[in-house]
Symmetry: D2
Subunit: 405 residues, 4 copies
């Protein structure tokens, strides 16, 4: 059927045309003397994205899931205990992986719609006088519920009691869209992937490891080979990889980072806040519905989970949106299956795209019988977007520049 | 700035991804024994698009404008008289070309917002007993005002008085989006281009000539060489071109035709009627504004010219839409400069794209002070699009198929 | 510098233009109802490539190395013993991985230039009455030395003594270029990747597992999660993946398989034999040099390692070829470092490409002082290629077809 | 059939990957406020390519042939006399166009294999005291015979007798590959196209006109519209076009010019001389055959026409090369049909590409029975290419840089 697919799942995200073009590359010798520059450019660019000077970015040919595994197997010994919290499908899956790989998880179950429980973490860590807990896991942005967590707060909880555990953060659906600060927050391993804020296809597991994590690796005895940090770190030093890297994705990564830097990383965050705000305006003020996140502090600027009214199934909205309007929304998973549909507002996005998606989601809801006021979502979002107080400074400047041109 | 450009000028139009991919071709020998198949496929495909079995499609490396010139110089003698009507910038420019090339134009000036004046044509032709008029020009879709004309009616006017003049039709912004019937309507030259309903970049002038036109060419003495039909017709017979053709555009043309055929040509027309109807619903019922076309019979299903209220300048809306929302609308040209802005709803388009553009145009109008009700355009368009009586049968079927999957 | 890079490393290989085009895709929802067809197409296509009806192809977002790891961790228990042989860098690295992951390796060291030692394998297996050996590893094509091994022979050795060990085959640089028969040879895990005979960028680990291997997985206790077969097998059943797959690579895989099938898999093998033969003709008859493979039975049809004369360094030839002629040759690795340079003749390749590379390699040799007769390599290769007895039947047919056109 | 097509016709030429990528663009509004920069970049870039500060480059959506027509119809009056010489198919076709468009041609017929007859031109111009000759036509590089002409010499002939005729030069297969100097040589119209030295697909007629030519246009009465310089010049001034331009080709043009400038225009010429020299070495020293050009001063550095021995048909070589080896060579046209085949060595080319083509052409000749020594062509070309005296300085520098890296 004619026309463009509207991709509003919270990943994979829309690929900018210039990034798509950059990936249309023939193969080349990944051990040639000229190849190393590409590696260096990617690694250096990622340092800026992770906001680190002392950390080491590593690019695995894998999905982000692979980087979860790498964090565990590189830094821990079999049977080690980790502290984790579960408040959505992705925080759950990381816990599940820990258990499958033979680690012991102290799991804090939280209401879905909330995030990392800072007070519980603080209590548990303070109580762990023997430092049995070797790593603390935190999901910065729970993609399943549209919940953002306070990573700086986790660091504070660790520091408050002088706990030496490593801090592992899943920033898969946050990095390069909302702020992440490797060094300032004392993160030891940050886990991410190419297909979210980095606006690429899936295929690159993107992680960053602290000096402390690399030090822990030296004695960690969990079996590992493909995901061993050291092979990567050693090969990357001279600009190469231990096994054949995916060249189109590396070229795309360099271009995507350049794109982000041209906009300015802080500006990218501001734009996500602006579009996230408009989405919530549509949901809450326009449609008179709730998002899954229980309080403003949990609101995610990359994905909003819209709670459908009692008696309706979110899956019907999603099916209708996709089949009727070529609009891809995200499903409710596990505990919130059927209860929500998700609008991803992450990555390469602007006002008209979002307004088209809001109009489409509204049409799908009306089609399945949900009584929302036609046009109300777009009206609320548009009012938000046209509010000069909401427009990010760099966008206002850019518009002014175009006006002057 | 992030996000996709919303292209809603009435050409060039959005290129489907599969067509874009098909054009990413290396050069090749255009005189090789395997090349001719591509030519044959394009020519045969165009016959179906033009709805002709006796006509001959010709593909010039040019814009559509070149095909205007080809029609005149191949079929006419210097100083010949043509009958034409002017009701917008593009019907005007064709007349202007006739005069610059030394032909004599009997020009009927009509109100902008109306189309080919069938009754006046009938009178003039009937009065032309000496058959001084050698060709009748008709612009099927005046892109500047969003006006559709009745080409079958022009044929009737010619036949009614047995006038032998050739019938030249500009279908640049109609072909492959609204119905065109070369044979049934007795058109002698149809002029079009690649960048509208054929969903390609500009660069191919696409025309179709009747046997009568080719016969006229034999004695026509207007100087011509680059645009000589015969060089093309002769070379095309064996699958080649008299000079190097633009290969990416030919590959794109083949793929675009395949795309149109997969949807079904009549279905493509139905989809344009559906999206055109939704656009007019937004303008008239939502925003309470007028389109430039004076009556439903003139409504174009490929472009709508929206009349801005007194005291406002359409150019300001366009500038705001582009600079603020990355939404490209069409300008008012010549007589309607400042009075209208145009929304192109032609080519590869669907509901969410259109709703996003309507929301964007509305936002731009609000920004420049035009008092439209926020959300009203999308509400009216969405109500139209969700009306089962409006949904084209093939789309309903397609949706049903996806529901079953 | 102007002109095309000549890529003659044995992977990554040249990507056909049609495959490159197929990968230029926007992102889409990998959980949509229409996505599953792509998965099914890839899995079914791979069954034909692996020549299996009972095996299960699995596509990991990883390099081929990841599939080595998957074979070990899915089918073995910690401390299990595997039988392996080392005769080049890649057979070495797999052994190394076994050891790093905590398995016990009975390693047979062979002269580099030979392949899997069938008689030694037979002796060792026959002697292993207690069936301590749980898996037998065999590298079908040792990329480092250009050596092909007899996998059917390994199966015979196992069967001869009724040994129940699993058979793991590394077919990274063989699959889809030289014959591989999963079912007939009783292979339990075949390991490959996207960037060799499948003519894609790196990024997909492509493996195929037998029912016996999946059965072994049920009780195997090696820790695994990312590379767990079951997650993949279960998700693939309905057409999905446990984590976000790399869409461009899947689209490319489908197109690459279609490309191979259009040529015919057996024909692809014949073409590789033909081009491999021409390469050896250049080396042996033209340049009067040796290949690393010690005897015709070891000759690889995907890569030839050329032994440079005493007193010269293969690395100098490679450096010269790349820096001076933009020709990428493969380096000698480990034991054969400096002693050889490698010409990959794998994947999307034809006569002119190969002749250009042979001419370039010859020029590079002359430049560094190796006394080969100018033109001798091309003359010998060309004589071979023009010999009607050497031309594969399908190519002869194709030429005849073009002659008739 | 597998592998890359070897494109060695003298146009269209190989498109560099980066240029191919640059053309994969969506459509956009060609009247937007941001579009004009692209136009300015292309026009300014072309000024450097044409070596002009006072001339005006114009880019027509057409083939180069269209620019032949534009030169005639913009600058001449019906019936005007032009001086031209015929020594190949393309110089012939331009003369033919003059006649078809109603101009009077004083045509000097020369032996094919020679070029513009400077002495005859001088005599004729000197004899034309009445200045009946309004324009002098010169084909800088006759693509059909591989003959280069001395354009500075034509200017001298005009100046010697103070003749005021305009100087029109066809540089289609020379511009951006061999030196062209608009201002220094006093050229009034230079005609070229996108698909040769500019390394793009066909589709852009690229021309440059002097102030004198634009002045002549003011009074010239030949009918014209599509190709009217003034419409273009006026629209271009503000960065726009009178009708929709082909966006991918404009983006490609900007990138191609950037590519040429990065290598350096003089360096590009040196590289063409180097590759042309190698080709002639293969033909003359290797194969012991002649090129069509009768003397070194006529040798073209963009295309060599190889004269096949008596009793053989060049068309057979070409057919064999294409059908058997996927190598596209150029045919002999008109007077030299069957007598030659042509090797284009123009555009984006390097040593391995050329050596592969020479090897392929040699194989094709052997296949049809021409007795050349196998390997002799590559040996001679390779010896030439490896001769340090032949390597262009910038390539030597580039190699040194890579060696140092």
């Amino acid at each position: 059927m004619a026309g463009r697919n509207f991709l509003f799942v919270p990943g994979p995200t829309n690929i900018p045309d210039r990034v798509l073009r950059s990936m249309a590359v023939q193969s080349e010798d990944h051990r040639s003397p000229v190849f190393s520059q590409l590696t260096f450019d990617c690694i250096q660019g990622l340092k800026d994205i992770f906001k680190t000077t002392t950390g080491t970015p590593i690019i695995f040919p894998s999905s982000g899931t692979g980087c979860w595994e790498a964090a565990l197997t590189n830094c821990l010994n079999p049977g080690d205990t980790v502290l984790a919290s579960r408040f959505g499908q992705f925080s759950h899956l990381w816990i599940d992986m820990c258990q499958r790989l033979g680690f012991n998880v102290e799991a804090v179950d939280c209401e879905w719609g909330t995030g990392v429980p800072l007070e519980r973490y603080a209590e548990i860590l303070a109580a762990d006088k023997g430092h049995k807990i070797k790593a603390v896991l935190a999901t910065q942005n729970e993609t399943a519920t549209g919940v953002n967590s306070d990573i700086a707060g986790v660091r504070k909880a660790l520091d408050a009691c002088g706990h030496p555990a490593l801090l592992f953060v899943d920033s898969v659906s946050a990095l390069a869209s909302v702020d992440f600060r490797m060094d300032e927050w004392g993160v030891d391993v940050c886990v991410s992937g190419s297909q979210k804020g980095l606006m690429l296809p899936a295929g690159l597991g993107i992680t960053c490891v602290s000096e402390k994590a690399l030090e822990a690796r030296k004695t960690a005895k969990a079996p590992r080979c493909y995901f061993d940090y050291l092979d990567m770190v050693n090969a990357n030093k001279t600009g190469y990889f231990p096994y054949t890297p995916s060249l189109p994705l590396l070229y795309g990564l360099r271009e995507a980072i350049a794109t982000l830097k041209e906009e300015g990383l802080e500006n990218v965050f501001a734009r996500h806040a602006y579009l996230g705000g408009a989405t919530r305006a549509a949901v809450q003020q326009g449609w008179k519905l709730d998002v899954c996140a229980k309080a403003p502090k949990w609101y995610s600027n990359t994905v909003s989970a819209v709670v459908v009214p009692e008696g309706f199934n979110g899956a019907d909205v999603i099916a209708r949106a996709f089949r009727r309007y070529n609009l891809a929304l995200g499903a409710g998973l596990s505990k919130v299956a059927g209860k929500v549909f998700r609008i991803g507002h992450i990555g390469d996005m602007n006002e008209c795209m979002l307004l088209g998606a809001i109009a489409g989601a509204e049409a799908a809801m009306l089609d399945v019988g949900i009584k929302v006021e036609p046009g109300s979502g777009v009206a609320a979002a548009s009012n938000f977007l046209r509010d000069p107080d909401q427009v990010p400074a760099h966008m206002a400047q850019w518009i002014a520049g175009r006006n002057a041109a």
